[in-house]
Symmetry: C2
């Protein structure tokens, strides 16, 4: 094992999954971890608790639509929300570089506080480390979160799996976060108005889950993009996915930046989007709820679960062809979240 960590290992795609399997799953193996969910479901705490963690190393730390603090709060709330949990508490741990302006730290803390207050979820515990200049880049933030899963919901989701014929709902446009970050980096000098979609998804998700018992699973679409999420759902199963490019909402500005830089919107990171896989009978109703929710006006039904090509994600393209969608392999945009 003479290999080293590369930026590809942080991609959210296949190389990151390979690293996780090779080192972390192999050593830490246990039934809860091995499910590789966005949040772990604990049943040994007296109630049914969901538990998740994420570290945020985004560059730049302030960007249109948000900042590292808002991202850290929303990202962890979202991991709980897509796990059918009601978020109840957050932890926050800072690694600060010597010389980091306290005014920036104050701005970040203010943003986290506002987002947490808006969500009604307190930050209940924390940690602060400082490293000498040059030993980290300004500020990294870890947020862990605890949520509560209702007993009957837990029983239902334990029994439930995607089934052939299920519809795939996408909550809105793809790639807004990644493109906002690309544009905020000084290396790129395009003029386009794109804001990160960074948002707390719990309010809309709780509406969906309250109105349907046919939601099989939900995933928020972050690093690795939609293509990685769809592969995580199908890989190793006897199910495939069909999606239709014309139904996948992408803003014109995002599409333009993708064409210039050679990115595929399906591979790009988002911070306020999710997919839900739901029984056909409830799909139109769920879509309507999504579209009527703030920020959900571009929600769409983008495809179906199928038995016809197990483990594969196939997309009917705008030109009428069919192509295989691959999981992202290497890193496209380091420090996107």
């Amino acid at each position: 094992m003479n290999d080293v960590v590369t930026l590809h290992h942080g991609s959210g795609g296949s190389r990151m999954h390979a690293l996780i399997d090779r080192i972390f799953i192999s050593h830490f193996s246990n039934p809860v971890l091995n499910e590789k969910k966005d949040a772990a479901l604990l049943e040994n705490t007296g109630s049914d608790v969901a538990f998740t963690t994420d570290t945020y190393v985004i560059d730049p730390i302030f960007f249109p639509g948000g900042d590292i603090g808002k991202l850290a709060v929303c990202g962890t709330l979202n991991d709980l929300a897509v796990s059918f949990a009601r978020p109840v508490a957050l932890s926050v741990a800072f690694v600060l570089e010597e010389g980091f302006p306290l005014s920036d730290l104050d701005r970040i803390a203010r943003s986290m506080a506002a987002e947490a207050k808006d969500a009604g979820v307190p930050i209940v515990t924390g940690d602060t480390k400082v490293v000498p200049r040059g030993k980290c880049d300004r500020v990294f933030i870890n947020t862990a979160g605890i949520g509560v899963v209702e007993k009957q919901v837990l029983e239902r989701i334990r029994r439930t799996k995607p089934m052939p014929g299920d519809r795939i709902l996408l909550s809105g446009t793809l790639g807004d976060h990644a493109v906002a970050i690309i544009l905020a980096r000084e290396a790129f000098r395009f003029h386009a108005q794109v804001s990160s979609d960074c948002a707390n998804l719990y309010p809309v998700i709780s509406k969906l889950t309250a109105s349907s018992e046919k939601i099989r699973l939900m995933r928020d679409i972050t690093r690795g993009g939609l293509s990685s999420i769809l592969h995580e759902i199908t890989d190793g199963t006897n199910l495939g996915i069909d999606i239709s490019e014309e139904n996948i909402p992408v803003r014109n500005e995002v599409r333009a930046v993708c064409e210039l830089l050679g990115f595929d919107p399906l591979d790009l990171a988002n911070e306020g989007k999710f997919i839900a896989i739901a029984g056909e009978e409830d799909a139109d109703r769920l879509l309507k709820i999504l579209r009527e929710s703030p920020g959900g006006e571009n929600a769409a039904l983008i495809g179906r679960i199928t038995r016809s090509h197990p483990g594969k994600v196939m997309m009917t393209t705008l030109t009428g062809g069919v192509r295989m969608v691959e999981m992202v392999s290497g890193e496209q945009l380091p420090r996107i979240c």
Copy 2:
């Protein structure tokens, strides 16, 4: 607010506390966070859950007695244990520097797995981020942890506070971790055999809490040392603390390094030591349990809670004088944990 973060803000002492109050407590303020406990006690999850987080940025990452992985697991277990909680689950989040050897990552993961297995506490969820070379120093690890507090214990500790006459138990020698790290850094060329005390304290703490209902509070003694912990207990209260230097166990090698470098063992970081404040009637019995436990042979009763000098920590020195013990102000040893 033109100030910047300095290494002093990471000290565990008074400047860190000032930063936390000024920025984090002021923005995130809520009753649970404001208690500033080692772990937050949540009562809105259906059961009584303790929740804690810590990021580990130690340098070097491998040292006599442990490594960053063992430290990350034990440190978080200990924060739960001193909060009267039985640890039930851990999260782990890595920030990795591009170029970090996978063999080192494997060694760290193996060490974490061994420690978690030994404790019977699974690592249930995780995150992996990679930053470009030079944007962090090799590896930082965050571990958050969840524990369960028995209902009757929670009710008891909510009612209980240190009282005049209570005894202060220290679980063993001070400064072993800090001195092991100093010696492991290449800048120091002493020859001394000191291992970090890095250890999971839950087994011994659970013996103590099972045998006495008179333990008012416990704290593990990490950054900032014993002096900071004692101040955190007395500051803002109408109680003071008296301790006796001759009762405080310090290894000869640690004392020698302290004398050479001008450190006070009371200010040094530990990773497997704690204090317990207990009613006088149970103190000798608790000391006996501690001394009969693995690693507890040097445990000692080091002092008392007193009403005679509120907010102050006074120490009778080896020479018979009495001096005031101050909280550490600035950073002595960056990246000690």
